[in-house]
């Protein structure tokens, strides 16, 4: 073992990269952002590989549960997840970085209805409606509206006549825009980003109410990731707003940049999960 390292050392010196560089870093991607921008992901992957001088892989999953499973099975090193999965996984993951949107590391839940619906002013007006949830592990698209319903004194299980999951915020917006659902709760960041990319779609919906602010869906690191890789990845993300290529990417992601962040940002979500979360 000693010998192999010793023998490999000159090669590593020449290459100027660490031994672990042979293994690609695997980053889980979820519908926490507009994850159907495949071209953007290719550019971002390329950017990270150049920046970190090692291979990077994006692993796309539509459901938070799958990404959580992959993290727990150590098949992912990092992941961009929603607040609720982050809170649920507890010590299994470490907070890596928090995106900054419109100057703050926060986002909200938007309660939306079809643009034609002009009489709805709160979620209580949607009693007995057809409601679209994004994901059962989504904060803004599931936990937050259920918490509101409960706070108003209703049972989230029977409040709506029918609910269904679209497995993405974008599709939840589409469900409302097409009239399939009479309401949905979506990620403010996704809705705002989509309003820039596809304003025709968001114009068919109306934001009835904005929730309180939550910590922005964080990048997390698997507990098993080495400190070196953890640092390297955090640095790569935090450095993005310091060079033109990174700035261009951030502009496309509709983000200002990344900060290290603090787990305190997610305390409110942890409380909500205790009250209205899945058992």
């Amino acid at each position: 073992m000693q010998r192999r390292i010793f023998l490999g050392l000159p090669l590593l010196l020449v290459a100027g990269i660490s031994l672990a560089a042979n293994q690609p870093l695997r980053i889980g991607m979820t519908p926490a952002f507009l994850n159907d921008q495949y071209a953007l992901l290719v550019v971002w992957q390329d950017y990270l590989q150049r920046n970190m001088k090692r291979p990077v892989e994006f692993v796309q999953r539509d459901r938070y549960r799958e990404t959580m499973d992959l993290l727990q099975q150590h098949k992912l090193d990092f992941a961009w997840v929603c607040d609720y999965p982050y809170v649920l996984m507890g010590n299994e993951v470490k907070l890596l970085a928090v995106p900054v949107n419109q100057g703050q590391p926060i986002y909200r839940s938007y309660l939306i209805v079809p643009a034609k619906d002009t009489h709805t002013h709160s979620i209580e007006d949607l009693k007995g409606a057809v409601f679209a949830y994004a994901d059962p592990l989504s904060n803004t698209g599931y936990l937050a509206p259920r918490f509101d319903i409960k706070q108003a004194g209703h049972d989230p299980a029977t409040f709506f006549r029918r609910t269904f999951f679209t497995w993405s915020h974008r599709k939840a917006i589409e469900a409302v825009a097409s009239g399939l659902a009479q309401g949905a709760a979506v990620d403010s960041y996704v809705w705002d980003s989509l309003a820039k990319v596809n304003p025709g779609l968001t114009a068919k919906t109306r934001v009835v109410k904005q929730s309180e602010a939550f910590g922005f869906p964080p990048f997390v690191a698997n507990r098993s990731v080495s400190q070196a890789d953890f640092n390297a990845m955090r640095a790569a993300l935090l450095d993005m707003n310091k060079n033109p290529a990174g700035q261009a990417l951030l502009a496309k992601l509709n983000l200002d940049g990344f900060i290290a962040g603090s787990p305190d940002l997610y305390k409110r979500v942890a409380i909500m999960a205790g009250t209205a979360g899945n058992p």
Binding site: V130, R162, S178, G179
Partner: protein, 485 residues
């Protein structure tokens, strides 16, 4: 009025009408067929789509995945620039409670709405689905609606989760059908534009010979119709037979007319003969008395020179009267010897000097028996008169021919000259006395010939052939002897 039209118009008009009716009937049956085909086509493709989709919808409904089900039923309508293959208006998934589970147009057919509440047509479909409950694909056409529903059960392993409704707006396939109709109309017009002129031409061709015949027939009251030109219609069908019959009729009519003309002519000639003979007799009787008186006067009375001259004048005048009357009264009863071949040579000698004067060339052909039982004097008279006439009529330096032949019963004499031909008017009065055709002669030559021929029970004809005028005399050899003896 229409029925009195000429066949030239009637036949093509009827034909045209038949063609138009046929074209219309064919077009209509084609359209009917096309409509059925189109409908079947739409139904089949809808069924195919529906069957595929209902199979895929089953697990989605089983897992209550409304969103995926929505994505699936919306799939055929995503490309809005292109009309989808089935031309369906929408797809609606109905659950077992007959509520909308999901639809491709959630705004019109919202989730969880009762099917019956969506409108009159849907109420009909709701009722029909309730009554059916069979697990078969059904096409439902609500009465008085422009919509067509194809209901496909969403079923797997005998478990039914709902029904997929493929909704068609029939106006869209009316539009497609309209395009077919327009194409069919164009084809019909093209076919008509080819067939109608052909029909017109054919009708004209068929009726032209008939109308020509009708025109010819129409003139029959006024005069004998002309025989139709040959080659107008040469086929052996009914029209051809009509043409043939018409030609035969015209020929017979002409023959009859000719016969009548001959009869009238010979009757007239007989009347003239009788009249002439009676006058001649009436003149002859006093004439004999006058000759006797003059003879008595000359014999018994001595006359002074003036009286002598006067008597002589009288005598000569009376003699001229007697000659003329004698010529009118052709005397056949004259005793005469039989005709011999030598008589022809004698006649030739007699007319030679007259022929020489006009430098006429004779063509002479006599092939008869040595002796014939005909009165020589009369036959010689005929020959001389005919030849002198011919010489007189012939042109200077012209030609006159005589042909005498015989068969068992007849002597045939034919005299020809190359002079001016006879007009039809001349032909009519040719043999009448004093009908002069030339300045010379007394106009009795042909009359005498005619009388002689008549007495000998023969025939005489005149005619024109190839610019030659000919006289043909036929004298029967039998039945003459008794009279000659």
């Amino acid at each position: 009025m229409l029925f009195n039209l000429s066949l030239r118009y009637k036949l093509p008009l009827w034909g045209g009408l038949l063609i138009v009716l046929t074209a219309l009937a064919l077009s209509l049956s084609f359209m009917g067929q096309a409509y059925d085909d189109l409908k079947q086509d739409v139904l089949r493709s809808s069924e195919d789509l529906g069957l595929t989709m209902s199979r895929a919808l089953f697990p989605l409904m089983l897992h209550d995945d409304v969103w995926r089900a929505f994505e699936m039923v919306s799939l055929p309508f995503q490309d809005s620039t292109r009309t989808n293959a089935t031309h369906a208006e929408s797809l609606i998934v109905i659950d077992t409670k007959r509520q909308v589970y999901v639809s491709s147009r959630p705004e019109s057919y919202p989730v969880l709405s009762d099917l019956a509440a969506l409108g009159r047509e849907f109420a009909y479909v709701d009722k029909a689905l309730g009554a059916l409950q069979t697990n078969e694909t059904r096409a439902l056409e609500p009465p008085g609606s422009s919509r067509l529903f194809i209901a496909i059960p969403i079923i797997t392993d005998g478990v039914t989760l709902g029904t997929l409704l493929v909704v068609h707006d029939t106006s869209t396939f009316w539009f497609r059908f309209l395009r077919l109709i327009v194409r069919a109309l164009w084809i019909t017009l093209i076919v008509l534009s080819i067939l109608l002129p052909i029909n017109w031409y054919w009708g004209q061709r068929m009726t032209h010979p008939l109308s020509l015949l009708a025109r010819h027939m129409g003139t029959i009251h006024h005069h004998l119709p002309e025989a139709l030109e040959t080659g107008i219609y040469e086929y052996g069908d009914e029209v051809g037979q009509l043409y043939k019959a018409f030609d035969e009729m015209v020929a017979q009519l002409k023959e009859k007319a000719l016969l009548e003309k001959h009869m009238i002519q010979s009757e007239r000639m007989a009347a003239v003969g009788r009249f002439t003979a009676s006058i001649a007799h009436e003149i002859n009787n006093p004439l004999g008395g006058m000759f006797n008186a003059i003879s008595t006067l000359k014999r018994h009375i001595t006359l002074d020179p003036v009286a002598q001259m006067t008597v002589s004048h009288l005598d000569r005048g009376l003699q001229q009267i007697r000659d003329t009357v004698a010529a009118l009264l052709v005397e056949a009863k004259l005793k005469s010897r039989d005709l011999i071949r030598q008589d022809f040579d004698d006649v030739r000698l007699l007319v030679t000097s007259a022929a020489h004067k006009k430098r006429i060339e004779f063509a002479w052909s006599v092939s008869i028996a040595e002796s014939l039982p005909l009165p020589s004097t009369l036959v010689r008279q005929i020959l001389i008169n005919l030849l002198l006439n011919a010489i007189q009529a012939a042109s200077d330096g012209g030609q006159v021919s005589l042909l005498a032949t015989m068969d068992e019963n007849n002597l045939l004499i034919r005299v020809e000259n190359d002079g001016k031909t006879l007009t039809a008017e001349q032909m009519d009065t040719l043999f009448e006395p004093f009908s002069r055709f030339s300045e010379q002669g007394n106009g009795l030559g042909l009359w005498i010939i005619y009388q002689i021929v008549l007495q000998l029970k023969g025939e005489i004809k005149a005619g024109t052939e190839d610019g030659l005028t000919h006289f043909l005399v036929l004298l029967p050899l039998t039945g003459q002897k008794a009279e000659n003896d």
